[in-house]
């Protein structure tokens, strides 16, 4: 059923938030007021010069932007092409997530909100939210799956140190999917002065578009930096890992309408796409509705959402943002996947040859390099979305096994 717009400008969903058939706002009436307020005001607020200046100043002096675009010489030589790394791992708090939380906290202030709620999987978005709440003196409650709280103890401690309350999500499978459900329910139960900062390009319209816009600073900078380094603003390829898809949306954004740029999204295959232990949503999912938008969802034939698997908690999500679902369906994006093992191997390899320990999520993006036929003249940008400090426990286990 393609009753909605045929998209020619990939940056702009329809007024009701549709990218082709994907998107929309499938929410209970209890959330209508909050979502409608956001929907009618987000563009106006985001385009206000004073708002833009406030965000830009914080991104520069607090987050540390622009992040470098680094020519990875040894990796380029090995693959036989030109590879640039967009260093989002150097952002304050260690990942791209803070680009979005900075924007949303100022937006929340403009909307007169007093309290912030958020969901988190691995804890990166939770930490980025707790950070900006501390910065702005706002109350912060982060919903996190009970299982994730157990396995991501350092990030739980960071959030608490930053003054946030971490609430365990004990429903369903007790992971990111359920933390998101709990955050949405909490928003239903105390809607008036509360803003929900969603961490990815998922959720009801306008969240996917709003988060993509806040993350688009990544590709905005890449264009300028490439121009300086290569003489052209356009690479031949942009590669990013995709769970919900926020770093990919940001890295792709200013290239979406540039047909010569190949956009490569790398999903987590877990133990293998067909192993039954995977999070490769476009490969395994079907059209469905999850967390307020229509997209591609991993589910049973009876429409019950299934629990995915990935070694990286940040990609361990049974859906994908509606923009990405549309990029997949329209073939504008190239969707590939990497297994847990490939990601681990590449995390070590990149550490050894470039001196950068990437997050496990990011390591998935590197894993597809040998699978693509690059020309020596190609210019490839990889979004290095986060640093690997949070994954040290996993990396240490691997090193112990190697002994």
């Amino acid at each position: 059923m393609h009753l909605f717009n045929e998209l020619t400008n990939y940056q702009a969903p329809s007024k009701e938030g549709y990218y082709g058939e994907f998107g929309g706002a499938y929410i209970p009436e209890m959330l209508y007021g909050n979502v409608e307020t956001l929907k009618t005001q987000y563009l106006q607020i985001m385009e206000d010069p004073a708002f833009k200046a406030e965000v830009a100043a914080l991104l520069k002096d607090y987050v540390g932007r622009p992040t470098p675009l680094f020519y990875a010489e040894r990796l380029s030589k090995e693959i036989g092409t030109n590879i640039y790394l967009k260093r989002e791992d150097l952002c304050h708090t260690g990942a791209h997530k803070i680009n979005n939380t900075i924007g949303q906290i100022i937006l929340a202030q403009r909307l007169g909100k007093k309290k912030i709620i958020a969901e988190t999987g691995a804890g990166q978005h939770g930490v980025a939210t707790a950070t900006v709440c501390a910065l702005k003196g706002m109350e912060c409650v982060v919903y996190m799956g009970e299982k994730d709280i157990e396995r991501q103890a350092p990030n739980v401690a960071r959030m608490k140190m930053l003054g946030a309350t971490v609430v365990p999500a004990t429903s369903g499978s007790k992971t990111l999917k359920d933390a998101t459900n709990e955050a949405i329910r909490a928003w239903i139960n105390e809607p008036d002065d509360t803003h929900y900062i969603i961490g990815s390009v998922v959720g009801p319209h306008p969240y996917p578009d709003m988060v993509a816009r806040f993350q688009s600073v990544i590709s905005e900078e890449v264009r300028k930096q490439l121009k300086e380094k290569t003489g052209s603003e356009l690479p031949t390829h942009v590669i990013a890992c995709v769970g919900g898809g926020s770093n990919a949306a940001g890295a792709f954004y200013h290239f979406l309408n540039e047909p010569t740029v190949e956009l490569v999204a790398v999903e987590a295959a877990g133990h293998g796409v067909n192993s039954g232990m995977s999070a490769a949503t476009t490969q395994l999912g079907t059209t469905g509705i999850l967390h307020g938008s229509k997209s591609i969802v991993m589910q049973t034939k009876d429409g019950q959402v299934v629990e995915p698997h990935s070694i990286s908690a940040g990609l361990d999500y049974p859906g994908i943002g509606p923009l990405h679902a549309f990029l997949y369906e329209s073939k504008r994006g190239t969707f590939m996947s990497a297994t847990d093992q490939e990601a681990l191997d590449w995390a070590f390899h990149i550490s050894e040859i470039e001196g950068i320990i990437p997050a496990l999520e990011t390591a998935h993006a590197f894993s597809v390099l040998p699978k693509i036929n690059f020309k020596p003249t190609d210019v490839v940008v990889i979004c290095l979305s986060g640093r690997g400090d949070k994954d040290l426990a996993t990396y240490m286990q691997v090193m112990d096994l190697k002994k």
Partner: protein
């Protein structure tokens, strides 16, 4: 005239709609629960189709849904169970559920099948107005099913009138913006319901969320056409025991 319209024509006050979860407490207890509800004074049965991610539901109903799913409940299974329900169930039956499982079943097929087994209406809390008008409403109307929209104290008047105009059967007034099963301040609810009464809506109004016993039922029934009870009944069932005995005791407590 639909069964729901017929009901409200005959009884305009103190209409009691009771929610139960299909496949709960046991996979094959669905009809037994429905028959007990009918026998003990419920006027409408709202039959919930369990879903893994029910955003509008509080813990009690979520938990019943998880048990129903573990019991093996599916939409397909439910329609099998309901195939002969009209031999014993004479009161209106409304299906409540979330969009995702219905999309997987096939939305049009779902509406057709619902009509075929004798379902009267649908409550789909995550099917919004825009999508109802542009994508899904036609299949519902083509199959002559009533569709019941939710409204809240925060719903603006213009939108409320539109939701009323598109609803048939009744309008579901959520007592306050919250998930199911939370306690409410009923003095505020009364003010809201009086406002709804003064609007002279097209549909009868049933009030849900937070209605759990005689006191709360009476509190909202005074200013509306009746109420919907969900979590409190599920909680009663969750303690185990004979379904007929539990239902009889529960509804006696609410109605008498």
């Amino acid at each position: 005239m639909s069964r729901l319209s017929e009901l409200f024509k005959q009884q305009s006050r103190r209409v009691l709609n009771v929610y139960c979860t299909a496949g709960y407490p046991n996979l094959n207890s669905t009809l037994e629960v429905m028959e007990s509800l009918q026998k003990n004074g419920a006027n409408i049965i709202e039959l919930g189709m369990p879903y893994s991610d029910p955003l509008a539901d509080g813990e009690v109903i979520q938990s019943s849904g998880n048990i129903a799913l573990a019991n093996g409940m599916t939409i397909e299974k439910l329609f099998e169970q309901l195939a002969d329900m009209r031999k014993t169930i004479h009161i209106p039956v409304v299906l409540m559920g979330y969009m995702n499982p219905i999309l997987q079943y096939g939305f049009e097929q779902f509406c057709k099948k619902a009509k075929e087994v004798g379902v009267d209406g649908l409550i789909l809390p995550d099917l919004p107005l825009y999508e109802f008008e542009h994508l899904y409403g036609k299949a519902i109307q083509d199959n002559e099913l009533d569709f019941i929209f939710l409204v809240t104290p925060e719903t603006p008047e213009e939108r409320l009138r539109k939701l009323d105009s598109l609803s048939t059967g009744f309008l579901y007034a959520v007592s306050s913006s919250a998930t199911t099963g939370k306690d409410k301040d009923f003095s505020k609810v009364a003010i809201y319901l009086q406002k709804l009464q003064s609007m002279q809506l097209k549909n009868p109004v049933l009030v849900g969320f937070g209605i759990k016993d005689k006191e709360t039922f009476d509190a909202v029934a005074a200013y509306s056409n009746g109420a919907i009870i969900g979590s409190a009944y599920i909680q009663a069932l969750s303690k185990g025991g004979n379904i007929e005995t539990i239902t009889s005791q529960f509804l006696n407590g609410v109605l008498n």
